[in-house]
């Protein structure tokens, strides 16, 4: 029987346990805990989920079931500059798909992936409510409005090292 050893940096582990404690180690608060944990680690690797399961007195399978249910949670690290393309209807009818294709083409990644150098990750999100600016692209927290496929290159260059 192989047992799974959890490896975490002691400082981060302490912070993670503090997060769980902040929510009274209540498994009903799992989603709030996951939000904070993802904020701390940038993503939710299996080790983090195992610790959370242990702290909240629930099963790792349950935590994993929840993590994989919600699109906001991710088990892969995001790029330094996470790029999100709004796929709300307003953006879609104003050409978001073509913009997305251009990002995919230039970055050579699929949706949900990160470039090998860790610079950019590509994702789609639901309406961000800036429909007046459609199509909209977010890089980190910055919103780019009325993005045309030929403007994609400039956006990437702005962030490239």
């Amino acid at each position: 029987m192989a047992s799974i050893n959890i490896k975490l940096n002691i400082e981060k582990l302490g912070q993670l346990q503090a997060i769980c404690k902040e929510f009274n180690n209540d498994k009903g608060e799992l989603i709030n805990v996951l939000h904070k944990a993802q904020h701390l680690f940038g993503y939710l690797p299996a080790e983090v989920q195992e610790v959370i399961a242990h702290e909240l007195n629930t099963s790792a399978a349950h935590v994993y079931g929840v993590v994989t249910f919600y699109s906001f949670f991710t088990m892969t690290p995001k790029g330094e500059h996470p790029i999100s393309i709004c796929m709300g209807t307003a953006c879609y009818v104003r050409g978001a798909e073509k913009v997305l294709d251009e990002f995919k083409r230039i970055l050579k990644v699929k949706v949900g992936e990160t470039t090998p150098d860790g610079q950019f990750s590509l994702s789609c999100l639901r309406c961000v409510g800036a429909c007046g600016l459609a199509p909209v692209v977010l890089v980190g927290d910055k919103v780019f409005g009325r993005v045309a496929p030929d403007g994609v290159k400039d956006i990437i260059e702005e962030y490239s090292k």
């Binding site: 029987m1 002691i10 610790v51 079931g65």
Partner: protein, 589 residues
Amino acid sequence: MEMIKVTIDNKVIEVEKGTTILDAAHTVGINIPTLCYLHLHDLNITNKPAGCRVCVVEVKGRRNLAPACVTECTPGMEVSTHNIRVLNSRKTVLELILSDHPTDCLICPKSGSCDLQSLAQEMGIRQIRYEGEQSTYREDTSPAIIRDVDKCIMCRRCEMMCNDVQTVGVLSAVNRGFMAVVAPAFERNLDHSECTYCGQCVAVCPTGALTEVDHTNNVIRTLADPSKTVIVQTAPAVRAALGEEFGMEAGTLVTGKMAAALRRLGFDYVFDTDFAADLTIMEEGTELLDRITRHLKGDTTVKLPILTSCCPGWVSFFEHQFPDMLDIPSTARSPQQMFGSIAKTYFAEKLGIKRENMVVVSIMPCLAKKYECSRNEFKVDGNPDVDFAVSTRELAHLIKQANINFLELPDEDFDRPLGDSTGAAVIFGATGGVIEAATRTAYEVFTGKKLDKVDFEQLRGMEWIRRAEVDFDGFPIKIGIAHGLGNARKLLEEIRDGKADFHAIEIMACPGGCIGGGGQPLHHGDSSILKARTAALYREDAGKAIRKSHENPFIQKLYEDFLGKPCGHKSHHLLHTHYFDKSNPVEIE
């Protein structure tokens, strides 16, 4: 109870308020098909996520169709269970499920006992109009259970069993939408999880998604090897269920036919795990009395209650979930392992053969036994005490493959010396049986008096957790019984919190005990089958000449010739074990 009138397929019926359409229809002989629904009445186990949508019916005035399994009847409700709209929807939904399901039925281990397959036949599905991409996942093989996840239909029965009944928490629905499936954490393999291999997920899986690791071919090959002496042992619960695989009524005892069949299969010696169950009582009973006596003498280091340790699912459970309590259970090995150990020492010596040339096969109602016999502590120089554990279902396959007409077989006896047992041993297969057997012996040893009546009715039944007191001649022995690991958890937590004052507790992982084990013929949600098997075991006990383990003359002889005394040096070496902390420690980098 308030009664209400409803109309189902033009029949006006009166039902209790709160009755579901499914149950109401059933009372007038209308059997609405179901798939994800599971209800074991006597055990109060229910799974109705209303996810498969096969049981939909039309309720007049309702916009969409209603799932009969969860929709309660309301006064004046008019239900149609098979009009064209309902039938078309039901068939379309079924086609959809089949469109995301492999169609390798001919070679599927579940073929013939698959609920999905039967339903497709009943509904006359002859084509799948909506073919498309199928969701595919990695197959997972563990020591006992195979997960062929492509065949999962998200009925969630296994998830319910693993979480709500067993509280093991290995399985959960993961992902969402088309890729949603039931899986262990991080979609790892079962052998990287806290799985106890109790097999209750397999027992309820309607398709071939969860099946046992099949050892029938290993057995066939071994039997054909002239250099091997092949010995078989059969667990108590098998004889009460095997007949079902041959169309016999649930609860038919087939002890004699089973022995005959095993002999015809070519086993050199047909023995009985019941013999080892009597041996278990000698060891575990002695340990119990020792702990009680020391306790009464004021020894504060003694751990009470003592917990039974016959059930490998239960052993895994406390190793994973209660690593702080490893010193409470009895150290006695399970009957399967005691048998293997004695067979490959005592009996091998008697035959004058080397242990490498002896193969022990066990027929078990259980899947955890497959895992148990693979544990390293039950091996000597890499040679396992028990080589193969095959389930009741696998035995039926072996019998069929050997062209044996099971129904026509004469009743035969087990071989000696490891085939003779008492009534106390046969009830090991039902919840409460082990502790009743132990009580029969412990009482007589403790009090020095003969029992007038060996039946302890207060220890029997299907209630999840039972508490009883047995008067040991003025000293009340407090006994706890739990079946189903979720209930075991409750008792363990009571002990941990210091709230329990039991002397002895019996725990069996499976609902109903071994008769409801993960290797038994499938009950398909009919809990009366489990009750019938239990009754059969008590019937066999009642019919036995000897009903107390310590009176088994072959057991007495074993101690005289070989073991010495119960819990003595040799027994300790051969019949006892130790437990491991299998919790996941958080390792700091």
